[in-house]
Symmetry: C2
Subunit: 324 residues, 2 copies
């Protein structure tokens, strides 16, 4: 059981990462208004959030810029139009997917960019490609993280091997990503232990990105804090793919560092998030996500079920419960 | 950290208690159709649920039977009209509140009643009255539990004293009730430890009834399972006062005893719960409940906010955050 004193106090190494535009962008194809993005930036500053992820650095060779909002591509000038010189304590992050980012061309030197942190997203089987991206970004002067997706489908021995490779890279943060929202808190504790062993050995930090398929995104995130995980992803109103993420408003309510403030988050939600829902943008916990989470599957079938506005949950369950 | 072997296996002493009619009845004044109740009874049997709570044994002297559905009063003949002789493995429970139940008159001998378990609900300051009800019910042949409400507002030393009194009573189960949805899993672990010490000393079982104000009802329930808590309350679609309870569909997905089946729960939700919502019955996690949970307050202000269909969350927060 965790010590009472630790729970009443705080760890100054904790960092809160707002992933609303990036994971939330997966829900609305990154079509956020500039007012939304600017207000979110200001809310994050007032709330004491440490990093704001603006979106993806996606390849314009692979993705049609007419079919997505600009935050799928996060051009430096678009970020600048929101943050100017960003003379604040809030750092700027973007995500770069292995295999979907022209990082050699599209990521310029950090000294000339408003971006501080490049988050490299990878599955366990493309770690060397991730390392190449991490080395490239480090050489350009960025902080980096390596976000290992679909962790619930990853063998522990493969994970340990991957962390050994990453440990020898210049990456700053190892990220646990429960893409399927499949893990229970006690499993998070075990995964965090594996990450921690490598983090101590190689002097790295650990982060967590949780999904809410089983209403455990917040619970898993605070479990991870207690296990020594420092970088915590959250999104306003849980906005994110499928069942969404750990809610920023829940997380800031929990964290005891007085630098964090809940009120600006509530103000932003009042102004923007409820309107998004009214406009028909759909995300969040529902039965179909429970099912894919429970069955440790990618949520794509559940997302399609949601898009089709189906509510025949039992039929859906029968479809996905057995894979021949 | 909990042992892997224990997580992959199950504890045969675990009991699942469906509290949909009772806690859900607080949302719709107990006006459920007979079809709903009968289908719920059948779903519970098929799902392997151990207890079904039908509602309250409320005093008809204190409450107007014209203003509430029949499950606020749970007359034996009304239960019989659903379950007949109940020749099944599903046991029948009702709740009796301290100070709101004419238990000497309204609770007949168990041999003549379809009810198996009397759940006595009390605050920490009325334990002797609860003991009197427990002794009365035990003498009549019932199983009993004592559900200690608002546990997050209870001093540990008072709780220990209360458990010492209850331990010497004939009660079968001590219940942790997080009425305000205020506790985090690590606090549940500490509370469960206090309960466990008394339970071991007096040879009692422990139960948990969680609320979802901070999206932790399920997380707190499975934390409690790992701490040795056996009686687990859940409701279909989380239906219950305010933010609702631990969802039955999440809990049965988690439990590994093969006697439990998720599918009948999904079928019931398909047929009934979504319709309830469409008819305008409102419950479940929302920001106002996060706030009262976070501030360790009774959810009544949040329930009123919900009834008034307000969405000005920041104004609400300012109202409740400071009490002079």
């Amino acid at each position: 059981m965790k010590e009472v004193a630790k729970l009443m106090n705080y760890r100054s190494s904790v960092r809160v990462v707002d992933a609303t535009l990036r994971d939330g962008g997966l829900v609305n194809n990154f079509y956020f208004t500039d007012e939304f993005v600017r207000d979110l930036y200001l809310a994050n500053i007032k709330a004491g959030v440490d990093y704001m992820e603006f979106g993806y650095k996606a390849s314009t060779e692979m993705f049609d810029t007419d079919k997505f909002g600009k935050w799928k591509f996060c051009r430096d000038e678009d970020i600048r139009s929101i943050v100017g010189e960003n003379l604040t304590d809030l750092k700027i992050a973007v995500m770069a997917d292995v295999g979907r980012c022209d990082y050699r061309n599209d990521i310029i030197n950090s000294a000339d960019s408003p971006i501080d942190l490049i988050r490299v997203a990878t599955y366990i089987n493309t770690i060397p490609a991730a390392v190449d991206m991490i080395e490239n970004a480090t050489a350009k002067g960025y902080e980096t993280s390596c976000n290992i997706m679909a962790i619930s489908n990853t063998q522990e021995s493969d994970l340990k091997a991957a962390l050994d490779i990453l440990g020898q890279s210049p990456v700053d943060v190892f990220y646990i990503v429960d893409s399927y929202g499949a893990l229970y808190p006690e499993q998070i504790a075990r995964v965090a232990d594996i990450f921690m062993e490598a983090a101590v050995k190689y002097n790295k930090k650990i982060g967590i990105h949780a999904h809410n398929n089983q209403q455990l995104a917040f619970a898993n995130t605070i479990e991870a804090v207690g296990d020594g995980v420092d970088y915590l992803d959250a999104t306003y109103s849980s906005m994110g793919r499928g069942a969404g993420n750990c809610a920023m408003e829940l997380l800031l309510g929990f964290l005891k560092n007085p630098k964090y403030n809940l009120y600006p988050v509530l103000q932003f939600i009042d102004k923007h998030m409820n309107r998004l829902r009214k406009e028909g943008v759909v995300w969040g916990y529902d039965l179909q996500y429970l099912m894919t989470g429970l069955l440790n599957q990618h949520p794509r079938t559940a997302i399609q079920f949601t898009k089709d506005k189906r509510t025949d949950y039992t039929e859906f369950y029968k479809d996905i419960v057995v894979h021949d």
